[in-house]
């Protein structure tokens, strides 16, 4: 049933999930959050994980981030020949910016470097570069409350990149932003991804967003999460907003709607 579209050029994937299952147990009650997730993600890909709210998308991210164990199946991260350090090699962005309100923007971006004990002088330079990359040059010494929601989320993205992780996990990062800011952030993210060459797994419930951003889309159905489909998005790069009107774009969104039974 699942059209398991494997990683583009036959290289080993950086993330490999096989039949992953996750059951939450609270006070004797069991809740099956993730039923069966199988997905490969190649290095440098931007894969979007799309599905309805509460379908277990976030759980998949939490398993990959090492925040939760999975109950069944296999999860492998890293490529052969390169050591993978779960702490250093994963960056995270959440729906809320989660900036520390008592720290200036630059100090917020530096948090992962402090926690990992990286050399601070280099980290500082890198944080400045990253802030420039996300369009926040000149805001280094502002406090979070002096920034708009979109700008705070840009700072959170810079923070996720500061320790130079191999993989960045994003959990509905633009879900709390208004529609216009969201469109702009989508374009920004594609530019950042292109410049940084990172592997990004992007969770969203926005179907348009999922198609627009992705090199590949993975569709999850709800309750419990089950892989319904994965497919490569064959749209020219760089993506521009006009592509929303491309007939191929329409075909992809149609395909997702169908898989989700809408």
């Amino acid at each position: 049933m699942v059209d398991q579209d494997s990683v583009a050029d036959g290289r080993p994937p950086i993330i490999r999930m096989r039949g992953v299952k996750k059951i939450y147990r609270t006070r004797g009650e069991e809740f099956l959050a993730v039923q069966d997730v199988t997905l490969d993600i190649g290095e440098g890909e931007l894969v979007t994980l799309v599905g309805p709210s509460g379908c277990g998308k976030s759980t998949v991210l939490r398993i990959l981030a090492g925040l939760q164990p999975h109950d069944e199946g296999e999860v492998e991260i890293g490529v052969p020949g390169a050591a993978f350090d779960a702490g250093r090699d994963i960056g995270m962005v959440f729906q809320q910016p989660l900036l520390l309100k008592w720290r200036r923007v630059l100090e917020n971006v530096l948090l992962p470097a402090e926690i990992l004990g990286l050399p601070m002088r280099e980290a500082r330079d890198r944080a400045r570069d990253l802030l420039a990359m996300v369009g926040l040059a000149g805001f280094e010494d502002k406090y979070p409350y002096e920034l708009s929601g979109g700008m705070q989320q840009r700072a959170a993205i810079a923070r996720a990149f500061v320790h130079d992780p191999k993989i960045v996990l994003m959990d509905e990062p633009f879900g709390a932003l208004d529609a216009l800011t969201r469109e702009r952030m989508n374009l920004e993210l594609l530019r950042i991804w292109d410049e940084s060459k990172k592997t990004i797994l992007f969770v969203t419930h926005g179907i348009q967003e999922a198609v627009f951003l992705a090199t590949r889309v993975a569709v999850l159905t709800s309750g419990p999460a089950r892989m319904a489909d994965t497919f490569t998005v064959d749209l020219p790069s760089p993506r521009v907003l006009d592509m929303h009107n491309d007939p191929r774009f329409g075909a992809y969104t149609h395909r997702i709607y169908q898989r989700l039974g809408l």
Binding site: R62, A65, G66, L67, A86, G87, R88, I90, M92, F94, Q95, Q96, L98, L100, K101, W102, R103, R104, E107, L111, P112, E114, I115, L116, Y143, Y145, E146, H163
Partner: protein, 277 residues
């Protein structure tokens, strides 16, 4: 309080003040504070008018001027009594801050300790501290120390409660962010929990200032040989209302000074949104 290396170098954001000389500074200060000054003046004027127009005898209520005059009367030994009361208030308060914050941190680190100790503390806190004052005097004797202890017992609980609460109020996603980086428990505490709890700690510390003053004065009422509470009781016998008024005013000033110091410390430690004044 070095909480997080970088935080303290970061002074709270405030609107830039231009360098315009002393007079401009005074002018700005007046512009900001004149309603507060006017309010106090109006209050004193009302007091004065009530005494004069109501023809109230001096032993019931003295005029503001008669009250102020006691300040120059050396038989009151104001500096001596003020020093004793201030010592009790500040000493008891400092003890409360150290023990309150210290206990809250210990609770934060050991859930088992919290589960055992917190209910006991809640029960103990239900005892009216004023009722304990005579016992403290039996245990600790006369003088500064027992009153300091009363000020401490009465003021430490709100600090413990707000600090505990503040250390617990952390966004779960923020914890995940640090855990995903394999951050240690200590890093979470020092970089996230403690600085995040500062606003809570200060709200408890502000409530505690008033309680510390009340505790010290109650202690002095119960038994002491000095302090403003002692002075009030000794002057009561002479119907020296003016002296008693002055004592009350000085007690309040001690409280205001303590509160002001806490506010200053808060301004220095806590980054506040400049839009909220």
């Amino acid at each position: 309080m070095a909480v997080d290396g970088q935080d303290l170098t970061a002074a709270p954001a405030r609107a830039g003040t231009s360098d315009g000389g002393v007079f401009e500074a005074i002018g700005r200060w007046l512009l900001r504070w004149w309603p507060a000054i006017a309010g106090h003046v109006a209050f004193i004027a009302a007091w004065w008018l009530i005494v004069v127009w109501g023809d109230i005898p001096a032993f019931i209520m003295p005029t503001p001027w008669a009250t102020l005059q006691t300040l120059w009367d050396p038989t009151y030994h104001w500096p001596h009594h003020v020093a004793i009361t201030a010592g009790e208030v500040f000493g008891g308060y400092l003890l409360a801050v150290v023990v309150g914050i210290g206990l809250a941190m210990a609770f934060c680190w050991s859930r088992g300790f919290e589960r055992g100790a917190m209910p006991v503390l809640v029960t103990l806190n239900m005892i009216p501290k004023v009722a304990m004052a005579p016992l403290f005097i039996v245990w600790l004797g006369f003088g500064l120390f027992p009153n300091m202890v009363i000020a401490f017992t009465i003021s430490f609980f709100p600090i413990l409660l707000t600090t505990s609460r503040g250390l617990r109020e952390v966004e779960p996603d923020l914890l995940d962010l640090v855990r995903a980086l394999k951050g240690s428990r200590w890093q979470i505490f020092r970089k996230i929990q403690l600085p995040g709890a500062l606003p809570y700690i200060f709200s408890g510390m502000k409530v505690a200032t008033v309680l510390a003053v009340a505790g010290a004065i109650v202690g002095e009422f119960m038994g002491s040989s000095g302090g403003l509470g002692y002075l009030m009781q000794s002057r009561q016998g002479f119907l020296d209302t003016a002296g008693m008024f002055m004592a009350v005013i000085l007690v309040s000033i001690i409280g205001v000074v303590l509160y002001g110091l806490v506010l200053l410390l808060e301004r220095w430690c806590v980054v506040t949104d400049a839009r909220i004044e």
